[in-house]
């Protein structure tokens, strides 16, 4: 046979028969999933379904129970440990749900932390690194904040600072755990558009979200975690439906639409 297929881009993230659990609770079983450059995935599920656990596993921060997990062709968790951790950090970035600041630090200093995986052991942050950091701050609307003390920021400002830190890291795969936490409406939209642009430019985005309307609007793919190990992955238009969401959240939802947008409200 001589069937010519269109060349598939190498996946940035690929799982085979992946099983993840936490504290005896099954997050997903037999997860076979590919994320390629240009895709933007929403991860949806109810509280405690294991969205954050799955994301931390994908980031290599904890080990899976079973199955294969590859990031840019490197097998996790082994490739993310020890000396491999730095190389991994140049490929995938992870936005944590919690930001902690035990010691004083300026905003600029905190953003520059994102440059760590790109710097050698004896390197000092260069002018180019500072430019990248400033651009990242501008992108999250923190332009004039470089010299501000981190511990004086509001919750939303701190969250945007974390996003800027991730942008300065310049990964190809963005793993975002609730990127909209603490953000007001305009900044929610701005951050979602920012990551949608990154996906269009050739990165891949996987974001844990709580609002299915935002997911339907800004993500082209969706992964639903039903909380019992079952999952559903596919194009957002097919996966994010009132019927699936009703089962996902255990509460009936109604779809509202117009102007090509879809929103979901509790019935």
């Amino acid at each position: 046979m001589n069937v010519s297929k269109p060349a598939m881009p190498a996946p940035l993230l690929e799982t085979r028969q992946l099983e993840v659990s936490i504290g005896g609770h099954l997050v997903c079983r037999d997860l076979n999933w590919r994320v390629v450059a240009g895709e933007s995935w929403a991860v949806l599920g109810r509280n405690g379904a294991g969205k954050s656990t799955l994301l931390a596993t994908l980031a290599g921060l904890r080990a899976q129970d079973q199955g294969r997990l590859n990031i840019a062709g490197l097998a996790l968790p082994q490739a993310g440990r020890g000396a491999g951790a730095r190389a991994m950090a140049r490929v995938r970035g992870y936005l944590s749900q919690h930001q902690i600041d035990p010691f004083a630090s300026t905003v600029m200093e905190s953003v520059l932390v994102g440059r760590h995986p790109h710097l050698g052991r004896w390197d000092w942050e260069s002018a180019a690194d500072r430019q990248i950091a400033e651009a990242a701050l501008n992108e999250v609307d923190l332009g004039g904040f470089a010299e501000r003390e981190v511990q004086t920021l509001s919750g939303g400002e701190r969250q945007r600072l974390a996003v800027a830190q991730l942008l300065a890291q310049q990964p190809q795969l963005f793993l975002l755990d609730e990127p909209l936490t603490h953000l007001d409406l305009s900044h929610q939209v701005a951050v979602m558009e920012l990551f949608a642009r990154r996906a269009t430019a050739g990165a891949a985005v996987v974001a844990v979200l709580h609002d299915p309307g935002f997911a339907a609007r800004y993500c082209r793919q969706a992964l639903l975690l039903f909380g019992n190990g079952e999952w559903l992955a596919g194009p957002a238009a097919e996966v994010i439906t009132a019927a699936h969401l009703g089962r996902l959240y255990g509460h009936p939802l109604r779809e509202l639409g117009g102007d090509g947008q879809r929103w979901f409200v509790p019935a």
């Binding site: 931390a56 980031a59 290599g60 921060l61 440990r81 020890g82 000396a83 951790a85 730095r86 190389a87 991994m88 950090a89 140049r90 970035g93 992870y94 944590s96 919690h98 902690i100 600041d101 035990p102 010691f103 004083a104 630090s105 300026t106 600029m108 200093e109 905190s110 520059l112 932390v113 994102g114 760590h116 995986p117 710097l119 052991r121 004896w122 000092w124 942050e125 010299e147 003390e149 511990q151 004086t152 890291q169």
Partner: protein, 334 residues
């Protein structure tokens, strides 16, 4: 954060401070020695009482003070970052407690000074191993667990020390109390401690940026490419060893390990340099060393010929300075 040039400049300034403090220590005392005479003695071109005092008494003691101050400040800075707790100091994991039990037991048994030092080091190592093996039980270095284990071991050692003090003969008490408060009077061979201080700096400075990330949480550090477990485990062990060497040399001198990293950090924040370990670690070591040299010089001159335990002086001087600086710090939100 400071630029590389700023960092080098500050380190050069602190090196000058170190030289100044050591010079003061060599000149000052109940037998004053002129600067020229000190220089001649150091160059080996002088003899007489002055040269003897400088080379045989003051130089070893001043170097020991510098090394201990540096070791304690460096270990304190490392512990504060790793435990992410500004109250952490080198003794928080019970190392000084173990050393005290060892040293005082040896004194109680009437052993020679060399054996007392050996017993102190053995006690420090024993406490360290005990804390680490207990806290390492589930193969993760949980901060709370490590702290709690350290605090419990330290209080156990405290009880043992109190027991030894209560049964010790009266003529031995003075030496024991001096050891407990920290005293450099018996530090005669400082080269080992100086070498360990250098080794500590050589081993930690390459990881300074990793430590900056660890100070911001393990998750962030791991996500940004730090091999968290290896770096943290290694630095814990190293900080403990530095502390053990310091305590063996001079007893448990308080305050340097807690306050000097804070003073350096406060100064850095004033300059807008944040909490960058690339400057904080070497600056703490140099400042801690100089401070202890000056404190020890005061301790043996202020009511000469009687000598004070230097640990008392570091606390008496350090407390008001620290409170003053803390009060001047702008108040943070929350």
């Amino acid at each position: 954060m400071p630029t590389r040039r700023h960092t080098l400049l500050i380190i050069v300034l602190l090196l000058l401070l170190a030289v100044a403090s050591l010079s003061a220590a060599l000149m000052a005392g109940s037998f004053a020695v002129a600067p020229g005479e000190v220089l001649q003695a150091l160059l080996g071109s002088a003899d007489g009482v002055g040269a003897d005092v400088v080379l045989k008494l003051r130089l070893p003691r001043a170097l020991a003070a510098f090394a201990c101050g540096g070791l304690l400040a460096l270990a304190g800075a490392l512990m504060q970052v790793l435990l992410r707790n500004p109250l952490a100091d080198p003794y928080v994991l019970g190392i000084s407690g173990g050393a005290a039990v060892g040293a005082l037991s040896a004194m109680l048994a009437g052993l020679a000074l060399a054996l007392v030092n050996l017993a102190a080091f053995a006690g420090a190592l024993a406490a360290m191993l005990l804390v680490f093996s207990l806290a390492h039980g589930d193969s993760s270095w949980t901060r709370t667990r490590l702290l709690l284990t350290g605090v419990i071991v330290a209080s156990g050692c405290g009880a043992a020390v109190a027991l030894i003090l209560s049964i010790a003969p009266e003529h031995g008490l003075h030496g024991m109390l001096f050891w407990l408060m920290g005293d450099l009077g018996h530090a005669s061979s400082p080269l080992g401690a100086v070498a360990v201080l250098l080794l500590g700096l050589i081993l930690t400075l390459p990881f300074a940026r990793e430590l900056n990330l660890l100070a911001r949480g393990d998750t962030l550090a791991h996500a940004l490419g730090v091999s968290v477990r290896q770096v943290r485990g290694g630095i814990y062990l190293l900080a403990s060893l530095l502390t053990a060497v310091a305590v063996t040399t001079a007893g448990s001198i308080g305050f340097i390990g807690l306050v000097v990293p804070h003073l350096v950090r406060l100064a850095m924040i004033k300059m807008g340099w944040g909490n960058d370990q690339r400057l904080l670690l070497p600056a703490s070591a140099l400042a801690g060393g100089s401070l202890l040299v000056l404190a020890d010089t005061l301790a043996r001159t202020v009511i000469a010929p009687q000598q004070l335990p230097v640990g008392v002086l570091t606390a008496l001087l350090g407390v008001p300075v620290f409170l003053f600086l803390l009060g001047r710090q702008p108040h943070e939100r929350q």
